[in-house]
Every structure is written in C-alpha cells, then in structure tokens.
C-alpha cells in the first residue's frame, strides 16, 4: 500500500521537529482564529447594519411611482395605496407590509419652527416595517389611523421645546401643490440614538396625512419587509406581478433605496480583505520557510530514496502531503480556537473603545454579539489552507532538480 506508506512517512516527517511544526501550526492557528473572529464580527456587523438600517425605516423593498425615489415629488404617488397594501399582504402572506407617505413640512411650536420630513404611516402595520414605533420612549405611538397626532424625535422635541401633550403646527404643501396646514398633538417622542434622525423626522397617522396633504387615498410608497434579507430576490418578482400595469409602479429593493449602505460595506470589505490577504500571505511565507527547511535538511535522505527509484514527483507529493497535514491541523485548530473566542464574545458581547460613538452612525448597538456560522468559521481558514499548500509548491518543485548522487554526498 504505497499511499499508506507515503502518508505514514509524511506524518513521521511532520513530527521530526515538533517545535518547528508547532510554530508553523501556531502561525496558522493565530491567523485562522483571528480571521474567524474578525470575519464573524464583520459579517455580523454588516448583517446588523443592513438589518438595523432597513428595519429602522427603509424596509427590504418599496413600491413607488417611478422617479419618486430621487425626486421625492409629492405628486409621484401610489394610487389607492391602502388597497394595494392589503392585496400584497394577503397574496404574499406577509404581515410586514405598510403604506407610507412623506412630505417636507415646517413644524412649529409656540416659539420655534423646524423643517422636517413628515411621514404618514399606518398605525396598524407600521410597527412591522419600522423600529420607530418601538423606540417611542415617552408617550405612545398613534393607534387611530385618522387621529390628529404626531410622534417626533427626542432632539427635535428639545429643539422645539415641547413635550408630549403639546400641540405642533404642520405647514407644508399638499399633493396638488397647495398650502397644507394642520395641528397635531404630540403623543409620543422616540429616541433612536441617532441625533440626525431624531432631529429630522416626524410621523403622523396615514389617514391624517392624507387629509392634510390632499393625498386622496394615495401614498408615496408601500414598504415591504421580506421574511429575510436573502428572500428579497424571491419576493421581488412576486410583488411586481401583483402590481397593476396601468399604475406604472416600480419596486425598489433595499440596495436601490440605500445605495450608500452596500457601498459602505463594500468599502469596508475591500479594506478588510486587503488586511486578511496580508495575513494569509505572511502565514504562507512561514509555511514556505518551514517546508523549505524540511526539504533542505533531507537532501541526503531524498538522495538515497531517489537512488532507490522513487521519482521526484512522488517526493514532491510527499512534501505537499506533509504541508497538507500541517495546514489541516492549523485549519481545524484555528477554526476551533477562533470559533471558541467568537462564541465567548457572542456570549459576553464585544466592544471596542469608541465603538459606541461610531456604531451609532451606522445604526449599530454599542455592544456587539458576534455569531459563528459555517461561512465565518471556514472562509478565512480555507484561504490560509490554500495559501499554505500553494507556498509549499516551491520547496516541492525544488525537488525536481535534485540529483541523487549529489544529494547523497551532501552532509545534511
């Protein structure tokens, strides 16, 4: 059984210098563990970033009039939005679909005025597509679709010098361009933790919005949250199918709605993967060095074996097999250590000084609980493994030029 002998030989050779082997494995374990941990955090953060950003407000998809996304013109509407939303809910068997309208309006209290984006939201379904209803810290979210009530952000409340129970005047222009005005009672104040958001957004019931801004049953978008981010692609054509062609509506997915999000992630991924690449390269050099040593010090031995008729090719495979064994050990141990570290932080939570500040900018919590998935567990280690095998090619190929007699004469 030649294979058996070769692999046994490889195994013995691996342990000829246990210290050296362990150091090489150590390099792999270090890098692998780091990669597993970092990638787990990174991917987890992206997930959260997407999730939090989208769940906060945007949803996974939105049905809109063409052009509305870029112009936000009042007259670019989804006609009879409530009916369409209801149709989508029942046909797609999804709860988390809600119609929404928005307008720029001036909010005035007794002595202060600020321009904000006012959203008309469906009190019944909005909590399914947005986290804002859940972020109401003071008071409550409206329940009656026609109530003359408003919820505003904490910062805005402070700037307007108002609290729940006070009245605000809304001034804006309606769908037909006419002057729109209303008075609403502040029933809730939300705190999203993002000052920019808390300063610039107010929500009122959709029915009330329709009255104030002369929407006539129309709305600006229907927000849809799919069961999972990955299901967006599946649901999108189904939503498109359910739209009446006469309305000429379009479906935008989250990437179209929040182009910055994916790009921020791409930018982060490319810089992170540059760093990971460097780590893999460094490990590869370490392996190359070890395997080169291992080949050089066995020149004499290889000479003997070759003179017995073993081809250089087979010896090359032996070297690769040895590397494979070391790399496999590195992969398994690295994934294990990395997995355990990640699990530990998944349990305890991970934080970095200053992270809370930065995290808030990307809708992230200040403590992060990374999770291990098969992808995060093996993505890094597999690259390290591949890099190690590649780097062993040089020592393995060197063998092809070894001359048996010269090799035997060599002292080491």
């Amino acid at each position: 059984m030649a294979v058996n002998i070769i692999s046994r030989l490889a195994w013995r050779n691996v342990w000829r210098h246990p210290r050296r082997t362990w150091l090489t494995i150590g390099a792999m374990v270090f890098s692998n563990a780091l990669l597993v941990f970092m990638i787990s955090i990174q991917f987890g953060m992206y997930g959260l970033m997407i999730d939090n950003t989208l769940k906060a407000f945007t949803g996974h998809m939105q049905v809109q009039a063409p052009g509305y996304k870029d112009d936000l013109k009042m007259r670019q509407v989804v006609p009879d939005a409530a009916t369409l939303a209801e149709k989508l809910r029942s046909e797609l068997k999804l709860d988390r679909i809600s119609a929404r309208s928005s307008a720029f309006a001036l909010l005035s209290s007794e002595d202060r005025s600020y321009g904000v984006q006012v959203f008309g939201v469906d009190p019944q379904y909005e909590p399914g597509v947005s986290t804002i209803p859940g972020l109401v810290r003071e008071g409550r979210f409206p329940t009656d679709n026609n109530a003359q009530e408003i919820v505003i952000g904490k910062t805005l409340a402070r700037n307007l010098r108002v609290e729940t129970g006070d009245e605000l005047t809304l001034l804006g222009s309606g769908r037909d361009g006419s002057f729109a005005a209303a008075v609403a009672e502040i029933v809730g104040i939300f705190d999203s933790g993002v000052p920019d958001f808390d300063r610039s957004i107010a929500e009122i019931p959709l029915g009330f919005f329709g009255d104030v801004f002369f929407m006539d049953h129309a709305a600006h978008s229907i927000v849809i949250v799919a069961p999972a981010l990955s299901a967006v692609e599946e649901y999108r054509p189904r939503v498109e199918e359910l739209l009446s062609p006469a309305d000429g509506l379009v479906v935008h997915d989250w990437n179209a709605l929040q182009p910055g999000l994916k790009q921020a992630i791409q930018a982060d991924i490319s810089s992170a993967f540059f760093m990971y690449g460097i780590l893999v390269i460094l490990v590869a050099f370490s392996v190359m060095n070890t395997q080169l040593m291992s080949v050089l010090e066995r020149t004499h031995e290889f000479g003997i074996v070759m003179s017995l008729g073993v081809t250089p090719g087979r010896l090359g495979r032996l070297v690769l097999l040895e590397t494979g064994m070391i790399a496999l050990a590195g992969l398994v141990l690295g994934a294990l250590v990395g997995g355990l570290i990640t699990l530990w932080f998944g349990y305890k939570g991970f934080s970095y000084p200053g992270m809370d500040q930065l995290a808030a900018n990307f809708n992230l919590p200040s403590r992060f609980y990374p999770q291990v998935t098969v992808l995060t567990l093996f993505l890094g280690p597999v690259f390290v493994f591949a890099g190690s095998i590649l780097s062993a090619l040089y020592p393995a190929l060197r063998l092809q030029w070894v001359h048996p007699v010269e090799a035997m004469r060599s002292l080491q």
């Binding site: 390099a27 402070r158 790009q263 921020a264 930018a267 760093m275 460097i278 460094l282 500040q357 990307f362």
Partner: protein, 409 residues
Amino acid sequence: MKVVQISFLLASRNLWRNYRRTIIMLVAISVGAWAMIFMTALMRGMVNEMLRDGIRSLPGLVQVHNSAYRDDPSINNLVSMTDIEIETTFAAAGIERYATRVRVPAIISSERESRGVTLLGVDPLRERSIEAVGSVIAEGRGLESIDDNGIVIGKKLAGKLDTEIGKRIVLMSQDPDNEVADRGFRVVGLFEANLAAQEEAFVFAGRTVVQKMLGIDGRVSEIALTGDDYRNVELLLADTRRLMDGRDEVLSWQELDTFLGTMLGVMDGFVLVWIVVIFLALSFGLVNTLVMAVFERVREIGLMLALGMRPSGIMLQIIFESLLLLMLGLSIGNALAYASVIPLKDGLDISVVAEGMEMFGAASVLYPEIQVNDVVLANVVVLTLGLIASLSPAWRASRYEPVKAITKV
C-alpha cells in the same frame, strides 16, 4: 566590547549561511512592514481627510457659542459679545486665526426651486484664516468684504436650484421676533467641497448684510477659531475660555462633533492593533527561523561555549541575528511603502463606493498619508517585539550544555 563585536560578526555571517531561508523571511518581513505602513497610510489618509472635512464644516478647532445655542440653534441665542468687542478682545490676546459668523437656517429660492440651507454671514477676510468649507471657489469669485452684497453657494446647490453665477436668488429666514426676514442676493461664486452634502448645505454671504437682513446688528452666532494641529487644541481651548470668561460656551472640535473626536482615537488604536497583529503573524515565522538556526548550529554553539564564550555571548548572537533580519526587512518594507505611496500622490479614486464613503463621512478620493509617528511606531513595535520573540530561542541556545552540544551529531 569585543564580545559584542564577535557576536555581531557571527550573526551577520550566519544570516547568509542559509540564504534561501533568510530571503523568504526577509520577504515576509518586508511584506509585513509594507502592509503595516501602506495600510496605515491609506487609513490615515481617509481619516485625516475626514477630520479635515469635518473640521472645515464645523468649522475650526474651537468654537464659541451662546450656552443655549447647541440645544436650540436659533437666532435668539447669540454670542454675548458684539463683533467689535470680540475683535478688540481677541486682538489684545494676540489671537488672529478666528472668524465670527452668523449662522441661521434659511430657505433659498430661485425662480424654479426652493431649498432649506444654512445661511452663513461671514467676514471673508477672517474666513480665509480658518480654511472653512466654502473657501474653494470653483467658479466666479469669493466674497470680498464683510458687506459684500453677493452670495456664494455650493456648485451642487446651484444645479439643484437651476441657477448660476450672475443670477439672483432670494433668501428667507426669521428675525429674532419670529418675523420674516428676506432679501435678494446675486450669486457671485460657486464653491466646491469634498462632500456632496456640504455643497448643498451651506451658503455664504457678507456678515454685515446678513446681520442687517436679520436685524441683529453687531451680533454673531459663533466664533470659530483654528490652530495648526488638530491633535493639540488644549492650549487654544484654554486661552479662549479665559477670554470668554465663562459667558459663553467654548468647545473643542472633539466635543462639537463627538463622532470625529472618537474617530481619531479609534484610528490611533487601530493602527497599533494592526501593527501588532501583523507582527504576531510574522513572529511565528521569525521564531521558527531562529529555532532552526539554533538547532542546526548546536555543535558550534557547544564549541563556542567550550572555548569559553559566555552564554550571554551566545544569546547576543541570536538576538543580533534576529534584529539584523528585522532591520533589513523593515528597511525594505519601509522603502516599498514609500514607493507605493508615490504613484498614489494624486489620490486613489474610490468613487465606485462614493455614497458608502459618504456614510463614513469620507470623501471618495483617498490620499494616502505616511505619518512619521506611524512609521516610527511600526518599526519600534516590530523591533521591540522581535527582540522579545527572539529571547526564547536565544535563551535556549545559551543554555546548552557544551558537552551534549558538541557530541550531538
């Protein structure tokens, strides 16, 4: 010391004994050092640009406001001193790089569009000293005096308003009595900013003109002061606090924009972590190389011990060998990093992810910046940790029993 000399000689000779191994290790260290410095330069470039943009739009390193202004940025909350008092006070204190500004929310209208903006009434001569947003004029001219009748708006805003240089626009805001304050202005210049958002957010007009329009003669919303080093604002902050004598709120840029402040700290931390991580990845190879070097030289080491060299001499040899390897690798890596930054002098265009970068508050052209202290840090960390990492093999080598070492074949 002769022992040091001979140890060094032996170390340098030994380094080339197994040149393949040395070269592989050198390449690894060079790549590591290059990555440390190059990556840091890229990140620094991004963050510094971010900080500069941020500081430009604040603007300044230190700002003075009415203490109620931050909570309620209205025209009613003005700085307690009049602009003349400010001028005399600051001149007496020898502070020159500052600007006083009126800052109010306003509506800008052209024939076709209206937009919400922040109207800044500025003193253009003073403004130049703080290098704020709006100082890069793309078309037309900048404001020329404190009572310049013209207005400078962002290039992007001009596009949105469908207006251009030479045309008039109308600005509307509120005076302290909540009454409408409006006025027409002729667009005299368009400015350019790194961040698209800034080009749409700010418009600049002569301070006196704005003060007159709003009916707040001689009063300003903010004083922006700047200095040479954004890392070091304590002195400026203290000076200004003393001058304002507790009447107004004096804050540093870190306090004004906590995101930016944190960013700087996080970046410093990140650079160190990155350097250490790279080093650790290298260290296994380094220690391995040294262990092998010791291992294959056991006989010689035994011989030297037998001849009367002290164990410390042996240690010194191994440490020298390690340091030589590191220094060589570092020099190559440093040189490579400098070399790879040269072609990127004009910036690395990453506008494919421009909107993503804007989310970070960063521009879409990256100018790598090699900072001397980062380079020093990288080299010092590598040498120090490298020294520590080589202690173990060196110690082991020095502990050999000469007899066993010599008799080992």
